[in-house]
Structure formats: structure tokens, C-alpha cells
């Protein structure tokens, strides 16, 4: 073995970088080994056509925790927004859009009742999201353990529920057990409004608005708003790569060593203890602690190896539900597109195609049977409106999340990729007539493409569905839900761990806290 570190982190996704920096600041020698040529995992900016760059996977920043920004001095290391508190525009094919902010609806055809209900409803959900967010900063409690830390964590959760008051608590339990469709249906009348709000609950998941758990995913997403006065949705200058770029700068300033273009082939073990990593070119690097930013399935089934973990645990890892259903479309445009009825000043907002809950549900239906949506739902943004570093002057890039594109497409993606891309562009053209003539270059990333490019099993947004059976103390699965794993000295720090995915950083931070608590001080 050539080199030796206190900590080796597999993967330089934002969580890996966050974890690395906290550990380096605490005095550990840390090496981060990343498979791809650039750091950032699913939060990067890259060129997809000469002169045109885009946030290649995640494209909107709404969850990144302010504590991480502050602790790691990300602003000093170059993070700055190109746009903040984006509004959501619920696009209508006829141009009668609605604009949704954190507390109001702008647009025609919305009843007084809906307008009145909107802020009340969101305030209620934000209170509930607050309860959820309280659990985000600490490791989830172990069930059936009597340690003080576990009991306190459970008690705190119970207390914050109680502090909601009787009515709220009852309401949370009620809506938590139904689905976002039913909740929106009983609260609002306007289809466009409900469609766009429902979209938020299902984006990134294997869920339709009528699926169970969609209130949980809605609250999860809403936690991002709690740190801001507005919608909390922003676009970093330079794209998502700027977030991870600043993380990299911060990590290196703290003394973290980073190697890229170096896939880890396996995690080395001595009996049941991790002792380092072996890279794909056969180099062995030893580390007292190994932390994996890769998703749990990749970590255990591939890097540790199913045969090196006990059967019950292996089976639980194997059963983690993580088949991606979100695709990513990138367009290089030779000028700003025109959306029917949308003022050009609004072009830089978050544009959503989800005209009704049924529309989204039908889009989901296709994917249940291994087909892509024939009427897909989308979240679009055109970051070049705010940021001229992404495209040549006067030109634009469009980035869109498209649902649903099942990982296991029955007909196979190689056969269908082109047809699906065309279908999406046709759908876009219904809203932005003439857009197809402006396209200079385009790229569609299906979940298998995302799996391949970003090394995420199943190409799943969260490294595993965020559903109650894979959430909190069950995330990714009992036995590994407190960042430590059955393999001594091996920790998880990615989106597959509590609290979950999105460019949030807390899995990485919490993992570092747990490591500092459990391992001997550097």
C-alpha cells in the first residue's frame, strides 16, 4: 500500500465534499477519490454542445442548508446566486399562466377561495415541514435501542409534533396518511394550480399525485422554503457546478486532497473492517476510515461486495427501491424562446408543465407499465437569462426535468431515446411555438444515462425513494441508518442516507458529525 489517510471518501458529490471538509477542519487527513473527471456528482455544470453549458443533472438550488454555506464559507469560496427566489409559473397551453410565489397567486381565473386558501395552506405545510426539518440536522434515532441519544432524538421528534398543537397534529396525521392529490383536491379548485403544486410532491420520485407518501415528499421539498423569505429557489452563478466548485475550493483550503478520474473498484476489508480502497487501475490506498458518497446499493453490492456483508443486511440493501423516473433535457437555443402568454421578463422563472393533477397522474400511469409518458410533465428553466457564462451572447440554454422516464423502459432506451426526445420537444412547442426551430443542439439524459454518467444506481434522484419505509431511521435501511454500517470503519454520507437527496448537504454533514463522535480523534 502506497499511501495512508485517516479518511478516504469515495465520491466527490456535494455530500462527499461537505463531509470531507468538516472532517479535514476537525484535523483528519482526508482523501476524496472521484470516478468522474470533475467533482460535484449530480451537481455539476458541463458543456453539452460547443459553447453551451448547463447544470447537467440537478439544476435548481432550493435545499442547500444555510448552516453549511456558513460553516464552510462557501460564499468566500465563490458561491453566489445568479437569481434568487424564483417564482413558479404554472404554464397553460393557451397562455393563461399562473404565477405562484411563496404566499400568493398571480393570474386570471383563480377563485377568491383559492387565493385565500393558498397562503393558509402553505403556512400550514411549512409548519409541518418545520417538524420534519428539525430531524434533518441530527442522526436518526435507532429503534429499540435504549441509548440516551436515541431516546432523546425520539423524544424531540415527539415533542416537536406536540408543539404543533392538537389541531395541527391531528391534521398532519390525517394528511400524512392520504396523498397530495386528495389534499389539494379538498383545498383548491383551480386545476393549473393543483397540477403545479402536485408536481412538486412527485418530482424525482416513483410517484404520482395519488400515490401514498406524496405528502411526505411534498413536505420534504418544502423544507427548502423555510430558510428563505421567498420561494427559496435559486440559480447559482455558473450553474450547479459553482456550488460544488466552491465546496471543492473550501475542501482544498481545509487540506482535503482530491483525485478525480479515479473510480474506486472496491473497498478493501480486513475481516469486517474497512481498511482502504482499491482503484480501478489497481492502486491500493489505505485509510483508517472509509466514507462512501456512492449510493447504498453501489456501496454494498459493488464496492464492498454482497458476499462480504451478512445476508439479512444484503437483502435489505438489494431491496432498496431506487429506480429513477426523471430524465433531463438540455437544449441550446439560438435565441430566447417565446412561451405563449409569457412575458419575456418571466422567462427566467421556474416554468412547470403540469396542467392538472390528472395530467400528472396519467403521465405517471405510463411509467408504471414500463412506458414513457406520452404527455410528460416538466420543470423548465432557462438559466442563461440570468447568467451569460452559460451560452454565447444572445443565445440560450434550456434545462428541463422530464417525468416520467422509467429506468426500465420496456422497449429499451436505445430504441426509444430519439422518439422520446422528439415527443418532449413537441410538447414544449405546444407551449413555446417555434422553439424547435431555435434548437442548435440537444441532449436527453434518461435514467440509465444518469446512472452511467453520475454513477448512481438506477439514476435515482435521491439515491433511493424517500418513502416512509426508506426514511429517517429506516434510511437507507436499518443497520446503516446512522451513517455507520455493519462494516466497521465504513460510513455512508450520500443522499441515500438521512435526510435524503437534493443538493442539501446534510447527509454529508451529519455523517461527519457521527464519525467525529464515534471514531478516535485525529
Amino acid at each position: 500500500m502506497s499511501k495512508r489517510y485517516d479518511v478516504i471518501i469515495v465520491g466527490a458529490g456535494h455530500n462527499g465534499l461537505v463531509c470531507a471538509t468538516y472532517l479535514a477542519l476537525a484535523g483528519y487527513s482526508v482523501l476524496v477519490v472521484e470516478a468522474n473527471e470533475r467533482v460535484g456528482g449530480a451537481a455539476i455544470t458541463r458543456e453539452f454542445a460547443p459553447g453551451y453549458s448547463v447544470s447537467a443533472c440537478a439544476h435548481l438550488l432550493f435545499l442547500l442548508h444555510p448552516k453549511i454555506v456558513a460553516d464552510l464559507s462557501l460564499e468566500r469560496h465563490g458561491l453566489k446566486p445568479a437569481a434568487t427566489d424564483l417564482h413558479t409559473v404554472a404554464l397553460a397551453a393557451d397562455g393563461a399562466h399562473l404565477t405562484l410565489t411563496a404566499d400568493a397567486i398571480d393570474g386570471n381565473g383563480v377563485s377568491t377561495g383559492d387565493r385565500a386558501a393558498y397562503p393558509l395552506f402553505l403556512n400550514k405545510l411549512r409548519r409541518f415541514a418545520g417538524v420534519l426539518q428539525k430531524t434533518f440536522m441530527t442522526r436518526p434515532p435507532r429503534l429499540a435501542h435504549k441509548s440516551m441519544a436515541d431516546l432523546t432524538a425520539l423524544a424531540k421528534l415527539g415533542l416537536s409534533l406536540r408543539l404543533l398543537g392538537r389541531d395541527d397534529m391531528r391534521e398532519l396525521l390525517r394528511i400524512g396518511a392520504i396523498n397530495i392529490h386528495d389534499v389539494l383536491q379538498e383545498t383548491f379548485e383551480n386545476d393549473l394550480l393543483k397540477g403545479a403544486m402536485g408536481f412538486d410532491a412527485v418530482s424525482g420520485g416513483n410517484l404520482g399525485p395519488r400515490s401514498p407518501n406524496t405528502v411526505l415528499t411534498c413536505l420534504y421539498r418544502l423544507t427548502g422554503q423555510l430558510n428563505s423569505k421567498g420561494s427559496g429557489i435559486s440559480i447559482p452563478a455558473g450553474g450547479m457546478g459553482a456550488v460544488t466548485g466552491s465546496l471543492r475550493a473550501g475542501a482544498e483550503a481545509a487540506g482535503v486532497e482530491i483525485v478525480t478520474g479515479t473510480p474506486v473498484k472496491r473497498i478493501l476489508l480486513d475481516r469486517d473492517r474497512a481498511t482502504g480502497v482499491e482503484t480501478s487501475d489497481g492502486e491500493r490506498i489505505s485509510g483508517a476510515i472509509v466514507v462512501s458518497n456512492a449510493d447504498p446499493k453501489t456501496t454494498f453490492m459493488k464496492l464492498v461486495g454482497a458476499r462480504n456483508i451478512e445476508t439479512g443486511f444484503a437483502r435489505r440493501i438489494d431491496n432498496i427501491r431506487m429506480q429513477g423516473k426523471a430524465a433531463k433535457l438540455h437544449l441550446a437555443l439560438d435565441g430566447p424562446p417565446t412561451f405563449r402568454g409569457l412575458e419575456q421578463t418571466q422567462l427566467g422563472q421556474r416554468l412547470v408543465i403540469a396542467p392538472s393533477l390528472n395530467y400528472v397522474e396519467r403521465a405517471f400511469d405510463c411509467s408504471k407499465y414500463g412506458e414513457y409518458s406520452n404527455q410528460p410533465t416538466m420543470e423548465i428553466n432557462i438559466p442563461s437569462v440570468h447568467d451569460d457564462s452559460l451560452a454565447p451572447k444572445g443565445k440560450h440554454v434550456l434545462s428541463a426535468i422530464i417525468q416520467y422516464a422509467p429506468y426500465n423502459l420496456r422497449a429499451g432506451w436505445d430504441a426509444e431515446r430519439a422518439a422520446f426526445k422528439q415527443l418532449i420537444i413537441d410538447k414544449l412547442a405546444e407551449y413555446a411555438p417555434g422553439i424547435e426551430e431555435r434548437i442548435i443542439a440537444s441532449e436527453l439524459l434518461t435514467p440509465p444515462d444518469i446512472e452511467k454518467e453520475f454513477n448512481i444506481h438506477g439514476g435515482h434522484w435521491h439515491h433511493g425513494e424517500c418513502s416512509p419505509d426508506q426514511f429517517m431511521m429506516l434510511r437507507p435501511t436499518p443497520g446503516a441508518a446512522q451513517y455507520a454500517t455493519p462494516v466497521a470503519g465504513l460510513y455512508l454520507c450520500g443522499a441515500g442516507s438521512h435526510p435524503g437527496g437534493g443538493v442539501l448537504g446534510l447527509a454529508g454533514r451529519n455523517a461527519s458529525t457521527e464519525i467525529l463522535k464515534r471514531e478516535k480523534t485525529p
Binding site: 476489508l269 480486513d270 475481516r271 469486517d272 453490492m301 461486495g305 454482497a306 458476499r307 462480504n308 456483508i309 451478512e310 445476508t311 439479512g312 443486511f313 444484503a314 437483502r315 438489494d318 443497520g479 455493519p486
Partner: protein, 403 residues
């Protein structure tokens, strides 16, 4: 009056709930009591004639027991040994072709799922034989290994042939060289245009063999065995007599001494190998096996239970009795008990709470018995016995003497 059922009718009827074993016709012809029980979805004879006759056939002559309902899994592939090493708590490296090993396997909590025997049939081929069914667990354990797991329970018929004259019986069946088969060895013999697999294994703690064959040849095997065994006192034995013999041998049984961990509703009610007297089967000097972490922790922190063999004063069987210490506190209970005709002892297997069962601990079994509607209670003194109650040297003799 209805017409008697034909054999296919019986089979079809049996198909609904329980299957006949390939020995069914022979067994039912010899079954005088019509005492059957269901085992792994097969009907098997519980008692053919009398318990005494069958028991004494095991201990003094030869007894044949239909063990077809045992679960049998074929494990094949080049990673078979590594696979078994992960599955079992025991180091399986010594298992070479032609050998059999007894082993136990655990879940991640270190609780026993089952115990059984592994036959190394041939290069890259093994058979696991167990009381309970485990396909799901065996398949899950196969992740990451180049092995195939195949449930061959219904493809192999089995007969246990046990007792002091069992070797002579098999010799009389022309199984050439059978007397040289050592304990825990196996060998193939030609029989009826097929292969007969014989292993020197059993559940009686005595000289004995187990015979394995394709179901189509099962009846012929039975016939040949009973003809050969006639001069040597062969009798068929049912589950009841076998149970007496296995308690005498001090062997544990799934579902009796422990609840197989996969069947537990309350996960903490399982038993670890240490808690079943199987500590000798746990080898920590291999990198990984199911239950390793939990068992290491148990070794450090101590077990919760102790498995003991008890010699109970008097002759009243102590089935299911509570065990008390000298201070009249309940410290455990009996899981199996019988009068042992061979050891002339009132014997039992028991699970005691730690630390009870140490040398010198005073223990009492609370035995209730009924004499013509009069209930009596007895606090019978118990002594912990370290080894099997009955372990005749002939069980290991190779070649065995001609009894």
C-alpha cells in the same frame, strides 16, 4: 359402502394438503397403528407398531426411518465452499468431496435458523440437508457468489438405517466396502441401474447410515433393505422412537430446542449457537459469516441462555417442566424429555437462563403427573450431564463389529 380408494386416489387426495413420500405404500403396509403425522407437507408414520419395539430396533438391531421430508438443497458452482463459509458459522474448509459436515446457520442477529448436514457430493456439488425449509435465505445468501441453489427436496428419497446391525444389513445388501465408511463420510454404490448414496450419518447417536436415492427407485431400495435386514432384526421406526433416540444422543431439534429464527414473531426469542451448546460450531477466524458480528458481541457480553442435558431424579418424565434453582426461582424449562431405556435415566434437554446450570448449581424440575385423576406435583432434583446420555463406542468404530 363406498369402494376402497385406489392408490392414485390416495395420492390425489393427499396432494391437497400433504404428499405421500416415495416409501408411502411400503410404510402404510407396515403401519399397524395408523398413527401418521405431517412433516414438511409429507405424511410420515409416527408409530408403526409399539414404541418399545421400534426403540429397541434402533438400539439393538436395525431400524429404518423415512426421512424424505427433510429439506434438501443442491448447491453447485465454483464458489460453493466460500458460499458455505458465509452461510455457516463453522469453517467449512475441511469439507472435501466424499465428506459430510454438521453445521448450523444464523441470521444477522446470530440466532440459529437451523442446523443440518452438508454433503460434499462431488467437485463443485454440495447438498444441504435440514429440518426446515430455507430456499429464500439460501438464495439471498447467494448474492455475489458464483453458485446455483436448487431445491431438490422432492427429487431425493431418504431412509435412515440405524442400529448396531445396520452395517451388516447393508453388507447383506451387497454394498461392497460399506464397513469401511467412516463417520461423516459418504459413498456412491450402484443400485437398481442408478446410484445409491450412502452417508454414515444419523440422528440416533448410534452406528447408522442414511441412504439417498431417486424417488423412482425408492420402493426397490426399501424392499432390498428389508430383505437384507430380516435376519438382523430390521423394523421400520416412526417419529416417536426416533425422538427418544435423539434425546438420548443429546441432539437438539429445530422447533423444539429452538424456534427457527425465520419463524419468530418476537425476534428476541431466538437462540444463538452458544445458547444451544453449539459453540464448537462457531469459528470466528474467518472473515465473514452470517451472525458473526452479533456472536462476537455475545461472546464478549455473555449469552442469555445455557443449553443443558439433565439427569432427573425418579422416573416421571419432565416434559415442559419449569426448572427452579435452590432459591425456588424459575431459571428455565425443559424442551425435550424421555425415560432412557439405554442409559436407565430420566433424561431431559433444557434451556436455562444464565448463569444457571453451572457445576454445583442446585436445580429442580417441577413435574406434574396424573394417576387416575389424581394430580401430583414433584420437585425432582436434576443433575447437569456434560455429554450425550447414550454414546456407544460402536457409533465411531470402522469397520464396525458384526453385531
Amino acid at each position: 359402502m363406498t369402494a376402497p380408494m385406489t392408490e392414485p386416489m390416495i395420492a390425489r387426495a393427499a396432494d391437497k394438503r400433504v404428499l405421500p413420500t416415495p416409501f408411502h405404500a411400503r410404510a402404510s403396509a407396515l403401519c399397524q397403528t395408523n398413527c401418521w403425522s405431517s412433516w414438511n407437507a409429507y405424511t410420515v408414520v409416527d408409530l408403526y407398531s409399539t414404541l418399545e419395539d421400534e426403540y429397541f430396533a434402533i438400539r439393538n438391531a436395525t431400524a429404518a426411518f423415512d426421512l424424505t421430508p427433510m429439506a434438501k438443497y443442491r448447491i453447485s458452482g465454483k464458489d460453493g465452499l466460500a458460499y458455505l463459509d458465509k452461510l455457516m458459522t463453522r469453517k467449512m474448509g475441511k469439507l472435501t468431496p466424499g465428506r459430510v459436515m454438521y453445521a448450523a446457520w444464523c441470521n444477522d442477529r446470530g440466532h440459529v435458523l437451523d442446523d443440518g448436514t452438508v454433503f460434499h457430493l462431488d467437485k463443485n456439488h454440495w447438498r444441504l440437508c435440514s429440518q426446515e425449509r430455507h430456499l429464500d435465505w439460501l438464495l439471498a445468501t447467494a448474492m455475489g457468489f458464483d453458485v446455483e441453489i436448487h431445491d431438490e427436496s422432492a427429487e431425493v428419497a431418504g431412509l435412515a438405517v440405524q442400529g448396531p446391525t445396520s452395517c451388516r444389513t447393508l453388507k447383506a445388501m451387497n454394498l461392497e466396502g460399506i464397513e469401511n465408511l467412516k463417520p461423516f463420510q459418504l459413498r456412491y454404490f450402484p443400485f437398481d441401474d442408478t446410484e445409491l448414496l450412502v452417508s454414515r450419518t444419523g440422528f440416533t447417536g448410534d452406528l447408522g447410515y442414511e441412504l439417498w436415492i431417486e424417488p423412482a427407485h425408492a420402493e426397490k431400495l426399501w424392499d432390498a433393505l428389508f430383505i437384507a435386514g430380516k435376519p438382523h432384526g430390521i423394523l421400520p421406526n416412526g417419529g416417536q422412537a426416533l425422538d427418544m433416540a435423539r434425546i438420548e444422543a443429546g441432539f437438539i431439534q429445530a422447533g423444539v430446542e429452538f424456534v427457527p429464527a425465520a419463524e419468530l414473531v418476537r425476534p428476541d426469542r431466538g437462540r444463538s449457537p452458544f445458547e444451544l451448546g453449539l459453540g464448537w460450531l462457531v469459528h470466528f477466524d474467518k472473515p465473514i459469516f452470517n451472525g458473526r458480528r452479533a456472536l462476537l458481541e455475545e461472546r464478549e457480553k455473555g449469552s442469555r441462555y445455557r443449553f443443558v442435558r439433565l439427569d432427573i431424579d425418579g422416573n416421571k418424565p419432565g416434559n415442559e417442566a419449569f426448572i427452579y434453582n435452590g432459591k425456588k426461582e424459575i431459571v428455565g424449562h425443559i424442551t425435550s424429555a424421555t425415560w432412557s431405556p439405554s442409559a436407565k435415566m430420566n433424561i431431559a434437554l433444557a434451556s436455562l437462563k444464565m448463569p444457571w446450570g453451572r457445576p454445583g448449581d442446585e436445580l429442580y424440575a417441577e413435574i406434574y403427573y396424573n394417576r387416575e385423576l389424581q394430580w401430583n406435583r414433584l420437585m425432582a432434583r436434576c443433575k447437569v450431564v456434560n455429554d450425550a446420555f447414550f454414546a456407544p463406542p460402536r457409533r465411531r468404530e470402522t469397520p464396525p463389529r458384526d453385531y
